[in-house]
Amino acid sequence: MITLGHYLVVSGMLFSLGLAGVIARRNIIIVYMCLEMMLSAANLALVGFSRFHLVNGLPDYTAQSLVFFTITVAAAEVAVGLAIIVALFRSKQSVDVESVTKLQG
């Protein structure tokens, strides 16, 4: 039997992996992919909670509606984000995180 706990553990692992990737990777594209993974982890948790939260014997769908919004927002973020990353590549010929360290102190 797969319980809520299983979903949450997977979601948590996914979130942690994403976070670790964001922190550890130097390529901005990959960092961005890790960020998407974190959003997916959140979505998984939402769906899981929603599935096991029964209202009148049926799963509660408000949380699932948020998942759709999240996916949409993620898409928008990717659109804008990739544009910015492309602009960065154009000007620096690099997508390494270390190429943006001018602002500091």
């Binding site: 976070l19 922190i23 130097r26 960092v31 995180v97 270390e98 360290t101 500091q104 102190g105």
Partner: protein, 629 residues
């Protein structure tokens, strides 16, 4: 009415002259001399209106809060009337003398303005009905003394002398103020002299037999007040300023540093003698200090060469005499010898009174000599002045004899004998012996002065060309000479309300000592100094005034200037360092450190952000619930 004229006239005179002397020019002198004459007439009226009742009158408000009434109120009694006469009389004469003496001085108006200021302040002390008022004027005489000693401030020595005088007096005032505060507190807020007399008197709340009496407190209060007198009357160990004060113009030395201001300490001690009488220890200390001062100053006087300095040390010595008398009288009262009569005179006040005349006379005389010798003050550079300045000589001689105490004729004999009597009655033989020795030394050094300065042949040109001074300067000399002789006579003294002890026949021992001292001292001086051109004796210790100035210079350098240096360094390093620099340095370091967090590396930021999330989760989920918030 009289009191307000006497007090306020010189005040306005001083104010007008000091603030507007450049506009007033010559009129300043007239205002000052005029005001001194009017004051004197008012004083005579005060004497004429004499009754023996004491009364305190409010003259002007000053500080009046709740039960504190520190106002300008005057206490008119026999003591203040007599003293007032001396002050206004000698003051007037000095004003007149100064007309001649200061004729050529550029800053004459400033001089007369300061003189008026002095008359105002001294009057205030004499009339003061409470100790705070006395303190106020006490300080003001200090100011006028400062201004007058520093009259020729261009001279470095005068500038230093006036500073020294003011500062030394400040130390005395430090004690005086503490004494006033103690009395104020203990007597429930009143420092009125009459109230205090009642409180310390029989049946009073603070008297020696009262339940609230505390010997320690009484002694402390008495000694603190006495410290004020030590400063003002230049007693050991604060005597060092008075000889230096001779840097001032000579009339000033006569008035302030011989006759009146320096005697204010004695006047004040007699005013509060109820306090001294309530404390045996204080009485002994006061008598001792007086005796030491008298003897020490007399010893120093024997080796001085500056005519004014000899007189200054003589003044010190005589003031020591008076202070000793205050202590001695208190001691004898404690032993049960009450002073006699309904309004008993006090030997110290009596000596103050006679001394004022002859010492003022001596100073004015020396002023005349200095004036005639073109500001030459060394007696070894004079000589033979007897022939050049006969009037001055004779008046000076009369003054000297009075100071030496020529038996039965001069006033000085009677007053000195009264003091010797008091010392004898005090039950302390050391006092009596040292007083007698002082009397002997007095005769010695005064005779030395007269012989060296007036007899023999003139030793320098300035002495050879000395001429008798003008009449306006001689007149005060003559008048004072008359008083030097007669002022102790009964009719005279009574009319002037001198505080003369109603003395019985003097004790034989006292009489003998007094006459012996006179004879031995005079004889010794004549023997040693007749016909000498330079000093046959040479005692460095006395000539250098027991090295007090040097010792004090070291004390000031070490205890004050060096300490100030150390404290300043510590203040900069420790206080400023700990309170200001250290915290700023810490904050600055923190600021720099927190800036390091902001390294500009995206990975660093994500790391911190992720770490922050984990830290917050850890804090909220695991730490805070345990803390029981």
């Amino acid at each position: 009415m009289h009191a307000s004229i006497i007090l306020l006239l010189p005040f306005f005179s001083a104010l007008v002259i000091l603030l507007g002397h450049r506009q007033l020019k010559g009129a300043a002198v007239l205002i000052s001399v005029g005001s001194s004459i009017i004051s004197f007439i008012a004083c005579l009226a005060l004497l004429a209106a004499a009754d023996d009742k004491e009364n305190t009158k409010l003259l002007l408000p000053f500080l009046d809060i709740g039960y504190l009434h520190a106002n300008i109120d005057v206490l008119i009694d026999k003591q203040s009337r007599g003293m007032m006469f001396i002050v206004s009389f000698i003051g007037m004469l000095v004003h007149i003398f100064s007309l001649g003496y200061m004729k050529d001085d550029d800053a004459k108006p400033r001089f007369f303005g300061s003189l008026s200021l002095f008359m105002f302040s001294m009057t205030g002390i004499v009339l003061a009905g409470n100790l705070i008022m006395m303190f106020i004027f006490w300080e003001l005489v200090g100011l006028s003394s400062y201004l007058l000693i520093g009259h020729w401030y261009q001279k470095a020595s005068a500038a230093e002398a006036c500073k020294k005088a003011f500062l030394t007096n400040r130390i005395g005032d430090f004690g005086f103020m503490i004494g006033i505060l103690l009395l104020f507190g203990a007597n429930g807020g009143s420092v009125n002299i009459e109230d205090l007399t009642t409180a310390f008197g029989p049946g009073g709340t603070l008297g020696i037999h009262a339940p609230g009496h505390s010997a320690g407190f009484t002694t402390a209060a008495a000694l603190c007040i006495f410290l004020g007198a030590v400063g003002k009357s230049a007693q050991f160990p604060l005597h060092v300023w008075l000889p230096d004060a001779m840097e001032g113009p000579t009339p000033v030395s006569a008035l302030i540093h011989a006759a009146t201001m320096v005697a204010a300490g004695v006047y004040m001690l007699v005013r509060v003698r109820f306090l001294i009488e309530a404390s045996p220890l204080a009485a002994e200390i006061i008598a001792g200090i007086g005796a030491v001062t008298a003897l020490m100053a007399a010893l120093m006087a024997t080796q001085q060469n500056d005519i004014k300095r000899i007189l200054a040390y003589s003044t010190l010595s005589q003031l020591g005499y008076m202070v000793m008398a205050v202590g001695a009288v208190a001691m004898s009262v404690q032993h049960g010898h009450e002073l006699h009569g309904p309004n008993p005179g006090h030997p110290a006040m009596f000596h103050l009174y006679t001394h004022a005349f002859f010492k003022a006379m001596l100073f004015l005389g020396s002023g005349a000599i200095i004036y005639a010798c073109h500001h030459e003050q060394d007696i070894w550079k004079m000589g033979g002045l007897r022939k050049h300045m006969p009037v001055t000589f004779y008046t000076f001689l009369i003054g000297t004899l009075a100071l030496m105490g020529l038996p039965w004729i001069t006033s000085g004999f009677y007053s000195k004998e009264a003091i010797l009597g008091a010392a004898y009655d005090s039950g302390c033989s050391i006092l009596f012996h040292s007083a007698s020795l002082t009397a002997l030394l007095t005769s010695f050094y005064m005779m030395r002065l007269v012989i060296v300065a007036f007899f023999g042949k003139s030793r320098t040109d300035s002495a050879r060309h000395a001429k008798e001074v003008e009449v306006i300067m001689l007149l005060p000399l003559v008048i004072l000479a008359v008083f030097s002789v007669f002022s102790a006579w009964k009719t005279f003294a009574d009319t002037l309300q001198a505080y003369k002890p109603a003395h019985e026949e003097p004790h034989a021992t006292v009489l003998f000592a007094s006459i012996a001292a006179f004879l031995i001292g005079t004889g010794g001086a004549i023997y040693l100094y007749r016909g000498k051109d330079k000093d046959p004796i040479n005692i460095k210790l006395f000539a250098n005034k027991f090295y007090f100035d040097e010792i004090y210079a070291v004390i000031v350098r070490v205890c004050q200037d060096r300490l100030a240096w150390i404290v300043t360094a510590l203040e900069r390093v420790l206080v400023d360092g700990l309170v200001a620099r250290l915290p700023t340095a810490i904050v600055a370091r923190l600021g720099a450190a927190t800036r390091m967090l902001q390294g500009g590396h995206l990975q660093g930021y994500t790391f911190l952000l992720g770490g922050g999330v984990i830290a917050v989760i850890y804090l909220v989920v695991f730490v805070l619930p345990r803390l029981g918030h």
